[in-house]
Symmetry: D2
Subunit: 171 residues, 4 copies
């Protein structure tokens, strides 16, 4: 039977420098997902994706990276399994669809796309407060005038993970 | 040789009622794209997509609808060609990639996804002023802190189309 | 209203040398599609795709290339419109879904994938006799034991196009 | 670090009745993948996919189902993780790309597509002898005239799994 799958979304490495506080938050979120025995799902690359995977692995969790490429060479080293989509950045849809809920930590426009997809299919979504970028811009907000589902703004990684689990009736 | 391809994005029919002013703007944008001899690209469904296609057809233009489904039965009747993607809403990426520039008229979260994709690959983008929804929310703004490319806010459909053509060196 | 869309599939340029007879057949198929006022749909690249597009353009037809890439720089110069999917080779599904019928001219394993997709959704399919590769291997056959739809084997490009149109009630 | 990922492909339930011998082989393949500590990757649905997942779970393995749908409700009950692609049957590309090698057990045209994708990117591929359908038709053959990589024909599920591992330098 499918285990709980929690998506962590946020900055990739490489474009803007990412604050160490943001990466620490990503690491912490990953660790809690592992402790709660949920599978961590992410886009499989660097930055927030890598740090959250590392956090999960340091806590004996299981991690899945869903990468844009046809092969797994771009995946970060903390992915237990790599899904090689070969569909480029439109794999953002698959990250959101494959998560029982999304936790955003910082992030740019790719993170915004994942939140939009989560909004369309009404996934529970949390942005971590003061993690920067898109997460700070959209926490506590609806993504369009239909107000389908709110992006919750939560400071504590533990409470963020528990929020997703509760919304799925798992805690 | 490829002709100019201009994407029109905005509200689909069916969820929220769309103001007649917004649909009139969509119709007008479609007509101007046709008069400029560019191909109109869109998501192929109802609302802004349908009205812009109708505007293009009433002015002897050519229209392509890129639909989520595997078959063309959901396409609006003003599409000359229908691209049946079978990949669901992630076809939003293909709409943006396949356009030399995007013009948004109103719109919800799907429109926001298309703008995000355009932003990633730096397509010229225009939101029509006072057309509602996402277009009003994001006109004149950048989609994340990297400030890759601005979404221009333009009132006149004629100037919007000319802006896209100029940015492509076509006028 | 959607015009008839006929897909031409077969060898890409670049891997194996393609016989001039095969390219001549592709050119001829493209010309007839144009004369019948149908839109030519293809994968947008070289080889059979390019020659069929050239045949259509020399006969005042309209051509659409559905390419794997995010941008149109790889498309052959005879495409009027380019659909930039950004989903890599899985765009083969879109080529098949977007065609009212498929005509194969030679071809390798990519062509076989397109025939398989056509077979799943029961598109009329024709392989041109003596055009080489996959077309010769699979003409007159079913693709699996369910015998959903036969790949017709037809020698004449004219009759091949007419077969697709007839099966769609268009001639 | 990514664990070994072995793809099992073959008949879905529902169209043709599947011989119990074929399902037994699928179950056995799944069990061996688990014993070898590799992750089982598949299309997540019924038939061969379900039996191989059950085999893996009965041997304490880990299973990933990559389904066509946007949600996981169609996945078989033996998937530990479900990747919800939302891209329909073109998810066949992702199954093949995400596997370090493919083992086919029976199968129809969908299985043939997965073998074609494996052939393009030169994945080690094995068809289990006497498992029916596509596996019997294509075992021991190349998929086109370029002869990129042979589909090995192997009778024993144990040897099939060991073949894939060896080709990846893992045994």
């Amino acid at each position: 039977m499918k285990r709980a799958q929690i998506g962590v979304i946020g900055y990739n490495s490489g474009s803007l420098p990412i604050k160490s506080k943001t990466l620490d938050l990503a690491y912490e979120v990953g660790g809690i997902i592992a402790k709660k025995n949920a599978i961590l799902v992410c886009g499989g690359l660097g930055g927030v994706m890598e740090y959250s995977c590392k956090g999960a692995k340091d806590n004996n969790g299981f991690t899945i990276g869903i990468v844009p490429q046809e092969d797994y060479s771009s995946a970060n080293q903390y992915c237990d399994a790599v899904i090689c989509t070969g569909i480029g950045l439109s794999r953002d849809f698959i990250v959101a669809y494959s998560s029982d809920g999304l936790i955003s930590v910082g992030g740019g426009v790719g993170t915004l796309i994942e939140l939009c997809v989560g909004y369309i299919v009404k996934k529970p979504m949390v942005s971590i407060s003061d993690s920067g970028g898109i997460s700070d811009d959209y926490g506590g907000k609806y993504l369009d005038e239909r107000k389908r589902i709110l992006i919750e703004k939560i400071k504590s990684p533990l409470e963020a993970v528990e929020y997703i689990l509760k919304k799925n009736g798992l805690q």
